[in-house]
């Protein structure tokens, strides 16, 4: 190795470099603080509204609950949030609980439960339109915000609504408050650093922020979310197959083959899906297309994150990982993973069924 031309950093130079590093840190922190400041100042006084579940499943005479989450990411308090119903099918009563959410504090959240009571509603899919109205007051000027809401109801005999206690009371993490606290801790550490000149202070502050973030994440069940992400595998996610989108159309051969299958009383097909899985809607649409061509085929879609015990029961778990989309014929125990060539595979599986 060349020896003569190696330039050793002398202590003086080293110190100089260190302060350059420090100024880089200060610059970065200032940038982050400025961004957060801008974020707070430039905010629209608008609530983050989301509702759960996406599709309400209920029997013709049953009831189901949709939870409307209202997150307030701003520094202004929101008041009097209320849902007004616009389009509701006959034979359906809707009640809000509580009727009015009087106050949503800054950086906080709340929710309204909408109770859908079907009174002999025929089977089918319905859309309920509503709007959310709430007010924001800034000193003495108040203004009203109206957000459209819509709910999709899937009314079927034997449908089981999702249990209310599985909803959780938060929808994601709300607000900038934790980020602001982190920014303040970092800024304080940097100010101390400017006077004391010990980098360890900044490092300790970063460590403190990391511990705080971990704790806050765990409080918000983000560790459960991480585990959930790890334990459900979608076939296209890590490249086991390509994701398929759009509506499948059955080939003429499949149609005639389906018609040729002697009609048993009923054959059930289950599709296991996850809400975030890209290919799952395709698998569901494929099974729906099959059902449209045959009177004897019944189907059910199962969210593996909501009903993991069903996933276990029907054997769509491989070495601890639930794999979606999975199309299952309970009668023969056939499990078809993914969507590649699903039309042919499903047809073959149905032919083998008794």
């Amino acid at each position: 190795m060349a020896r003569g031309n190696s330039v050793r950093s002398k202590p003086g130079r080293w110190m100089c470099r260190r302060s350059t590093v420090a100024w880089t840190w200060i610059g970065l922190a200032a940038l982050v603080l400025a961004l957060f400041g801008l974020g707070v100042l430039a905010q629209d006084p608008i609530l983050e509204v989301s509702s759960f579940p996406d599709v309400l499943q209920l029997p013709p005479d049953g009831e189901a609950v949709a939870r409307v989450f209202l997150g307030n990411p701003t520094i202004t308090e929101a008041d009097d949030a209320e849902v007004f119903l616009l389009v509701v099918p006959d034979d359906l009563a809707v009640a809000s609980d509580p009727e009015i959410l009087a106050k949503i504090d800054p950086f906080s959240d709340g929710y309204l439960d909408l109770r859908f009571l079907a009174q002999g509603l025929p089977e089918g899919t319905y859309e309920v339109l509503a709007e959310l109205v709430y007010t924001y007051c800034d000193d003495d000027s108040c203004f009203e915000v109206v957000e459209p809401l819509s709910f999709v109801l899937d009314v079927r005999e034997g449908a089981v609504p999702i249990a209310v206690d599985s909803f959780g009371s938060h929808q994601g993490a709300v607000g900038l408050l934790p980020l602001l606290i982190a920014g303040v801790v970092l800024a304080a550490a940097l100010i101390v650093f400017v006077f004391v000149r010990k980098a360890v202070i900044v490092v300790l502050a970063v460590g403190l922020i990391a511990v705080g973030a971990l704790a806050y994440g765990v409080l918000n069940d983000q560790h459960e979310q991480a585990q959930g992400i790890g334990s459900v595998l979608c076939t296209s996610c890590v490249g086991i197959e390509e994701s398929s989108h759009g509506e499948p159309s059955l080939s003429a051969a499949t149609r005639s083959a389906l018609a040729a299958i002697e009609g048993p009383e009923t054959t059930e097909v289950l599709v296991f899906y996850a809400v975030w899985c890209h290919s799952c809607p395709y698998a569901e649409a494929m099974v729906e297309a099959f059902a449209a061509e045959s009177r004897w085929l019944e189907y059910r879609f199962i969210d593996v994150e909501m009903e993991p015990e069903q996933a276990a029961q029907y054997n769509v778990i491989r070495s601890g990982r639930t794999i979606v989309p999975a199309t299952v014929l309970p009668e023969t125990g056939t499990v078809l993973f993914g969507v590649a060539d699903l039309e042919q595979r499903l047809l073959d599986a149905l032919r083998r069924a008794p």
């Binding site: 020896r3 994601g172 993490a173 973030a213 992400i229 996610c237 490249g239 086991i240 975030w276």
Partner: protein, 262 residues
Amino acid sequence: MSPLSWLRLQTSRRVLQGAGILFGLFGVTGIGMTHIIFPGLHCYACPLAITVCPIGLIQNLIVFGTVPYFWFGAVVAYGLFAGRGFCGWFCPFGTLNDLLSFRKVRILKSASLAKYAVLVGTIVAAWAMADTVFCKICPAASLEASIPYLFMGVATVNRPFLVHMASLGVTLVGMVLVARFWCRYLCPMGALLSLFNRVSLLRLRLQEHKCTDCGTCATKCPMGLEPHFDHDNHNCIKCGLCATECPTGALRLTLSPRRARD
């Protein structure tokens, strides 16, 4: 460094690398997925994984629009503890790089910045396409997910599988030609841990008065660095090979807080 301490340092590193592989494949016990984020690049889709891949997780969180508090806390904690030390001491994919480290050449130093581009690209792609784009080309996923699922009958040989095999092939050839090719130039997890490399507890110390500038350390460094005048590099994986080979004992691997003059 005396033969005994050489044995100690490098043997303990091998033992910990083994522990990393064991931890990565702990699913053989059937305990299933845990809440732990792996401190390295290890595919969570691996049938035997019990931990969540940090790069896979952050892509999913971006797709979901979650503020990643838990992820951030874990990654920063890992970074402050050992920085890229996890690459040299624990990461199973790093261990594979290690086993193929034949040519410890010093080339393409500035190309090591490419891994930051990979990290940013991973995040931007996840955001723009609402999908885990990086996972579809990740060579660790090729090795730990694609191949096992092929044998389990879940996967078939199709285009995504061939893309995975191509990325794995290119990476393996790269590793053979340039020691720690993946860790040096491309690993997004390495890029993340690099950010903390110069403030981490685990670090390489150089006692300048003992150093004779012989350059032995530079010939042993799998990352192609020159520890004798840049012992605190952002790319250093703290494997300690330079310290074990240093004839005067000027380089040491320590686990201690930094002081102003270190």
